[in-house]
């Protein structure tokens, strides 16, 4: 390791210790376990800054924070999976004695699939799960293909009906909008022209945008014909409408991301450094 790297690490370590002690002393008398809490806040700030150091370049502090994050999160989700799925959802349905051991209340029959009690039918996912775990075996790894096929196939089947309803049929019927709203002639239209949100002009303009936007967007995503001539023109209008929508979505999302940054900065300047209340 280079000498400069060692010096940098020592300096960071010293700053960490100083910050920890300063934080702990500022919390003394205010709460119990101030040394431990001071350590936690200082460590959180250190990890935040370590991740943000990535903006400069990859460095050992970022690597440390990254590996710590990955390891802790993997272990956390494994633990969550066991306690919420196995203990929370499976054991209470199949075994009263195991439920008592894990101190979870048994769950009464709810599904009664194939007229069998849950204590029997819930062994089906257990068997599928074990078959999936056989992937770790060189000789029996092929067995895992069956539960995988079940997962992918059944979910695709459910999603077919679900998305056909929500993303197709209901969207189609929502496109049936009147293009002439409260029409009483051009004279009446121009004499009552205003930008009132519920007014005739704005409602009509909105309906025209919906109708033309859907038509041109569908034309853009038509793959069986070259986009030339009038078809190409419709496709260009479609992509313009899509890009305007994406731009608005981009701006809205960026605002959300800035608010996340504000939250982190509030932690650093408020909870850690105590510069803001």
């Amino acid at each position: 390791m280079k000498r400069s790297s060692i010096i940098i690490m020592l300096v960071v370590l010293a700053m960490f210790v100083i910050s920890w002690l300063a934080k702990a002393s500022s919390m003394a008398g205010v709460e119990d376990h101030n040394i431990w809490h001071g350590f936690l806040i200082t460590f959180s700030a250190f990890l935040t800054l370590a991740i943000l150091s990535f903006l400069y370049k990859d460095n050992p502090f970022y690597k440390f924070a990254e590996h710590l994050f990955v390891g802790v999160s993997a272990a956390y989700w494994m633990s969550m999976g066991f306690w919420t799925t196995i203990v929370g959802n499976l054991i209470p349905r199949i075994s009263n004695s195991l439920s008592a051991f894990f101190e979870v209340p048994p769950i009464a029959d709810e599904w009664a699939l194939l007229l069998l009690p849950d204590s029997v039918t819930f062994f089906i996912p257990v068997i599928l799960g074990i078959m999936l775990l056989l992937r770790l075996s060189r000789n029996m790894g092929w067995i895992s293909a069956w539960p995988l096929a079940f997962i992918v196939g059944s979910t695709a089947g459910f999603n077919l009906v679900r998305y056909l309803r929500s993303d197709f049929i209901e969207q189609v019927s929502s496109t049936f909008v009147p293009l002439l709203v409260d029409w009483q002639g051009t004279g009446h239209f121009f004499s009552h022209l205003n930008l009132n949100a519920s007014g005739q002009f704005v409602t009509m303009a909105g309906n025209w945008v919906i109708f033309l936007g859907v038509m041109c967007g569908l034309i853009y995503f038509f793959f069986s014909k070259e986009h030339k001539g009038i078809f190409g023109f419709g496709s260009r209008v479609g992509i313009w409408i899509l890009m305007v929508t994406f731009g608005a979505s981009f701006g809205y999302t960026v605002m959300g991301r800035i608010s996340l940054l504000v939250g982190r900065l509030t932690f650093l300047f408020g909870d850690w450094l105590g510069l803001i209340s």
Binding site: I51, F54, D58, Y62, K63, A65, E66, F69, V70, V72, S73, A74, Y76, W77, A108, E110, L132, A145, L148, I151, V152, S154, T155, A156, N159, V161, Y163, L164, R165, F168, I169, E170, V172, S173, T175, F176, V177, P178, L179, L180, F211, V214, M215, L218, I219, F221, F222, F223, S224, K225, H227, L242, M243, T245, F246, G247, S249, F250, T253, R257
Partner: protein, 409 residues
Amino acid sequence: MKLTFLIACCVLFLGFPVAGFAQDTPEEAQPADSITTPIPAPPGNVTAWDTENDHGHSVSLSWEPSPDDGTGLGNVIGYIVFRSDSPDGPFVDRGVQPAGASGHTDVGSKEEASQDYMADYVDYYYKVRAITADSLVFAESVMVGPVQSYGQWFNTGRIPVLVFVLCFMAITIFFIQKAKSGANLFVRRLAGIEAVDEAIGRATEMGKPILYVLGLGTAADIATIASYTILGRVAKKIAEYQTGLIVPCYDPITMTVAQETVKTAYMDAGRPDAYNEDMVYFVTQSQFAYVAAVNGTMLRERPATNIYMGKFYAESLILAETGALAGSIQIAGTDEIAQIPFFVVACDYTLIGEELYAASAYLGREPLLLGSLKAQDYAKAAVIILAILGVIAMNVGLDGFKDLFYISN
């Protein structure tokens, strides 16, 4: 004489309320002190039937509002629905409706342990009570019943979904058969997909690996399924060119399918020996921990090409910006509308929404995928025609056309 008159007055003024109290029961006639509120007429023609298109445990009722609801005496302020599982009672309150109402749905719980449990295939009896501002003044309808609740196997309110599913299946099967028979099905050029070959070639020349990110979806998400097909094509090309491949995975099951896909691709390319299981690995199921790990991989391994295909969320811009920082050529495709803008600004090529699904057919030219793509295109054409017809119908006052597409819950 005076004594007789006095006794008669006592009988009149004292006996009358006594008689009234003796007759009063909570469910029957009204006491004399409500003499100022007249008794309304009861609701008429009460009917009860099993609620349609549900899983059971529900009975629907309708009635003709009381003649004194809004008209006549005008003292009816609402209706209370009572239910019993015996004609002799006791009847329990099952809901209130305001004045003017002419129907009610009595929905119970399917959980036996629940206090609101309503069993199926059990006789129920109903009465509807017209109430006034005076809680002791009301009028009840005649009792109706017995009526039983039960679930239906077929929800007639979702017939439009069935029709569309059958039509779509028929079109898909037709075009798959047509593709299998050797017909040339045209698919227009997709710039993002044509760039994949170029990107793989670039990585081979530079001697650097290709990073393929499947996104944060599960193995059953449509975008992830489309990504598997593209991964297979990319992996086959990579195997032929003997370039490196890195596939960090978010979901363990996605990783399993991806490993099978890559292994099969290497075998198809005639290079099973070159396949290394460590190419496709699980990172973590935490969103930003995964992104941190992939970012680290990008800056350390310096892949020549980054391909992002699948379902992405808030991490999309972090990935794309880091890839740009590392100097990689980037091709992205997702159906997450909120993330497409980030890929558009930060990547060299972006597949928008359905182009991701079309890419798998475009790359492989398999009959199954081509036929599906053609069926989708014809479905879109049908949507365009239906939308034009629907708009015309709305503008000429044929609102019933829209009702054809109504789907009940």
